[in-house]
């Protein structure tokens, strides 16, 4: 259970729990480190905005093959790399993980009233993502279907509330 650290650890906890519950996957959450203002994508990026007393963003970034394998486990179906269901399932997965993390943060920090925007997914080559007016942190999650990175940033920095 996340405690006193930055908000980022709540996202690590939510990702780990939902990967286990929804896909039966173990996950090793790596260390949180500062993210560059502009960062490259592995190919698929799901972006969720955060509003409320603190504004920010969450980006889950994953390669296409890892996304396909993850979504097969979540849905119990076989998918090709081109299957649109992969994109919809991935976006919904990130929506659930972010919602879970935001609930944990709001429970731990009364009065913050964080809300989230609906997810948007970007797919492409040589994707680069920049969050403006925010300081971001990133952690990598190592799973049996491959690695994914989660970038979290809030206006005012530290990705934390203290």
């Amino acid at each position: 259970m996340p405690g006193s650290g930055s908000y980022t650890e709540f996202f690590g906890a939510a990702l780990k729990e939902n990967l286990a519950e929804m896909a039966g996957l173990d996950c090793i959450v790596g260390e949180t480190r500062p993210q560059q203002e502009t960062f490259s994508s592995k190919g698929l990026a799901v972006i969720v905005g955060i509003t409320g007393k603190r504004q920010g963003l969450v980006v889950l970034d994953i390669g296409k093959e890892s996304a396909r394998r993850l979504c097969e486990l979540i849905d119990g179906e076989s998918y090709s790399l081109e299957d649109e269901f992969v994109l919809h399932t991935l976006a919904e997965f990130v929506n659930i993980v972010t919602g879970h993390a935001v609930t944990l943060i709001n429970d731990a920090h009364k009065g913050l009233h964080l809300e989230m925007t609906p997810p948007s997914l970007f797919l492409g080559s040589e994707l680069k993502i920049t969050g403006y007016k925010i300081k971001t942190e990133v952690f990598e999650a190592d799973t049996p279907v491959g690695k994914m990175t989660v970038t979290i940033g809030f206006k005012g920095g530290r990705s934390g509330g203290r």
């Binding site: 905005g49 509003t51 919809h88 609906p118 040589e126 403006y132």
Partner: protein, 151 residues
């Protein structure tokens, strides 16, 4: 589809861009698209929450983005560098915030998330709901506002 909910995002262009010296400004094609759309190389995503939930992806070519940045900065942007990128992101923020103020006047509280810039090649955008794509033709080129609202 309730047009009243989409109109403020279009009106924002006509209220904000002239302040930066844009003179040619008109609405182009309107299209209701599926949840999956091809996007241009430069996109700025701004999310909405509270009484109106959704996303606006402002999509344009790099050439248009450089032109937009030139108007915003007040000097020619030869490269799509950090200053130009920041200017385009700020414009998306201003356009969406202006629409949020308009909604507030009509009793809807809308919170706006910070802008995120997404650049690359062969970009496809997936929204959770259908997208209303509105073309805005400017001195700098065409900007497409891809509006997806949970309504």
């Amino acid at each position: 589809m309730d047009a009243k909910l989409y109109l403020p995002f279009v009106e924002s262009f006509f209220e904000v861009l002239p302040d930066f010296g844009f003179k040619e400004l008109r609405r182009g094609k309107l299209a209701l698209k599926d949840k999956l759309v091809a996007a241009a190389n430069v996109n700025v995503l701004v999310g909405l929450s509270q009484d109106l939930r959704g996303n606006i992806a402002y999509s344009m070519t790099e050439e248009t983005a450089r032109g937009v940045a030139s108007f915003m900065i007040g000097a020619a942007s030869e490269e799509f560098d950090e200053m130009a990128k920041s200017a385009v992101a700020e414009l998306a923020n201003m356009l969406t915030s202006k629409a949020a103020v308009s909604f507030e006047r009509s009793g809807l509280l809308v919170n706006v998330s910070p802008p995120t810039l997404i650049t690359g090649e062969n970009i496809t955008l997936l929204s959770h709901v259908r997208i209303l794509a509105v073309e805005i033709i400017t001195d700098a080129g065409l900007i497409e506002a891809n509006i997806s609202l949970e309504v």
